[in-house]
Symmetry: C2
Subunit: 374 residues, 2 copies
């Protein structure tokens, strides 16, 4: 398995390129301060976490033992009901959301999904995929769901079980929908059948360490939660975890003879490397390390917001958010720092690896290239 | 990011375990003769092939250029119509099948999916997921779809557009449905609207090099094809490719402002490492290397079938198959060699790395532990 000289040169140039592009981005919620040399050897084997992480399997080239540890760690962190949780390591936040919505559909086939207009675009795609009825709710200015609009919309449909898709950190402003407020509204209208999915792609890794703790997890009324592994935690390969109430999962499980396994996951063959990545992070940082990581990001975000305002840029952020929002920047600045932009706004996301020096440089660039030139 | 001594010991023990378990399995269609040391450095970066591989993106820490090369290679190999193909690197065969069926549903919302009873269990799950009407067709004894049953079933539903889910290598016996025969049946009944998806998980990597060449690809009438990357080609992380006619994909594309990208893939964040793996294999082996790889597997399969028959075991295989089927073995033999077993049958799959010595040893084990003891 050897490459030609030209192919090898191309790969080398690409590596350099990747190194540079990784250094400069500030606009995506993707950590880059990781190092998994301990795991490199595993690339020699065809690890495949076939099927359910909690069942036995004939196939043994897997890391499902580590996957179970990862899921167990998150179950505790997300205050899952004792002995009534199940989950697996996904290929990313979208798969976790798809799983949560799928579960909801199976449990409440006639339900309607309610979600705010700031919801990630992939959710509309998921809903179309699953053929689920859905209603978009207005957002507040900060990106949080408009509870009044939600209440009024639900009031008109009290005969239909509601499925709430809650954002625990929207894509553009990191706004968090409040599960306590949502549950109060559902209680007000005495809905006995309901389902709440938390899309905690970015914030799920941070919220358990925040004070005040956002209302987003199982103890706050979630029935399933999806978190990205490559965002707050950091991973060379996109991944995530999804957790759900086991009693619900059991109702939709199908027994499969072929792999001697219950087939409860979305894909059959599953990545066995990323569970090791997540396990490594959890074990090497521990809860204290993760908490420090959150604090560091919040401090950087506070710095960025303050410095921008001092520079006359009308920057703002949601309480407890590491995302700082400001008016759309010039195209050259957007390209240089790989800033996601929508509806006239750009943002930096102060992931643990973002430095104050980078923030200073970004502000210099913004001032040097006025918006009029964009 | 350092692990404690005990965690490090656990990881080391797991590595040993993985090495041993990888050496012994014969029952799964997963190659293990790979070596990607050239790619190890990329694990330091958060590669993410966000969105469509063929569109521009603000995010630049990606391997989409390599992904396009991989897809282009397969488009040629699978005789895709010139300038009318599109595809991406998936997380495995299941995702590719889901994509093909999703496309079919969008194009023919009232269609019925026909598939044989030997189809992989994940397909029924996919169909349920997508809410598609479907009818299971009988299989012939060798695992191939029963064309007479297909014809009769279609005849009774000539007002409904047919969607054919064809197996190009079934899970248990590696039987291949013949797209020419299927298309003849559809022609007979003058179906103007039709869709054919080829699930070529295992055989898609081999069939282009076989003589006679199985009827399975775009030139034979397929509208989409899914192939696994971790099966015939070999990969430390499950992956695959899916290809479809571009004119069909364009009809369902949705424009997304957030990532400055057309969102045509199933997941948003996508693995950027596995496209490098596939690229490396294609470039280092080349077409000749791949052809030799196929021939080696076929030779081993022929050897296994012959030796088993000499030993009095009623083994058989489909023409041109690398899967050798025989009566279910004793539990201890099944465990030792990680043999998948269903409906009283077991099989070995002669992947490129399977040796004649292993076949000999398996036969010894089978003879030493008679079926009566199972």
């Amino acid at each position: 398995m050897t490459l030609s000289t030209s192919d090898r040169a191309r790969l080398q140039a690409f590596l350099e390129n990747t190194r540079e592009n990784t250094e400069s981005y500030l606009g995506y919620p993707v950590s880059k301060d990781f190092e998994f040399d301990d795991l490199v050897e595993f690339l020699r084997y065809p690890l495949n976490n076939l099927g359910d992480p909690f069942s036995d399997s004939t196939w043994r080239v897997d890391s499902r033992g580590f996957e179970r540890d990862v899921i167990t760690f998150f179950a505790e962190m997300l205050r899952a009901p004792e002995n009534d949780w199940w989950g697996y390591v996904t290929n990313g936040g979208t798969e976790g959301n798809l799983y949560g919505l799928y579960l909801a559909r199976e449990l409440l086939p006639k339900g309607i999904v309610y979600y705010s207009q700031d919801t990630h675009y992939s959710v509309a795609k998921n809903l179309h995929f699953l053929g689920m009825r859905h209603i978009m709710i207005r957002s507040q200015k900060n990106g949080e769901i408009d509870y009044d609009d939600l209440r009024e919309t639900l009031r008109a449909r009290r005969d239909i079980p509601p499925i709430i898709f809650a954002n625990i950190g929207t894509t553009m402003t990191e706004a968090r929908d409040d599960l306590k407020k949502i549950n109060n509204i559902l209680d007000e209208m005495a809905f006995s059948q309901r389902y709440i999915h938390s899309d905690a792609a970015l914030c799920g890794g941070m919220a358990p360490f925040m004070d005040p703790r956002p209302a987003f997890d199982f103890a706050d009324g979630a029935d399933s939660i999806s978190i990205s592994g490559h965002k707050f935690f950091g991973s060379p390969i996109p991944c995530g975890i999804v957790l759900a109430r086991k009693c619900n999962v059991d109702r939709i499980a199908r027994s499969i003879s072929y792999i001697g396994n219950l087939d409860t996951t979305i894909t059959g063959s599953r990545n066995g490397f990323t569970p090791l990545v997540l396990w490594h992070t959890i074990k090497s940082l521990g809860k204290d390390g993760l908490a420090a990581r959150v604090q560091h990001s919040l401090d950087t975000a506070s710095y960025a917001e303050t410095q921008m305002r001092h520079a006359g840029i009308s920057a703002w952020r949601n309480p407890g958010a590491i995302t700082v929002v400001f008016p759309q920047v010039a195209e050259s600045v957007k390209q240089k720092w790989q800033l996601a932009t929508a509806n006239g706004e750009s943002h930096v996301i102060c992931m643990p690896n973002v430095t104050r020096e980078q923030i200073d440089e970004l502000i210099e660039d913004m001032l040097a290239t006025p918006v009029a030139n964009k």
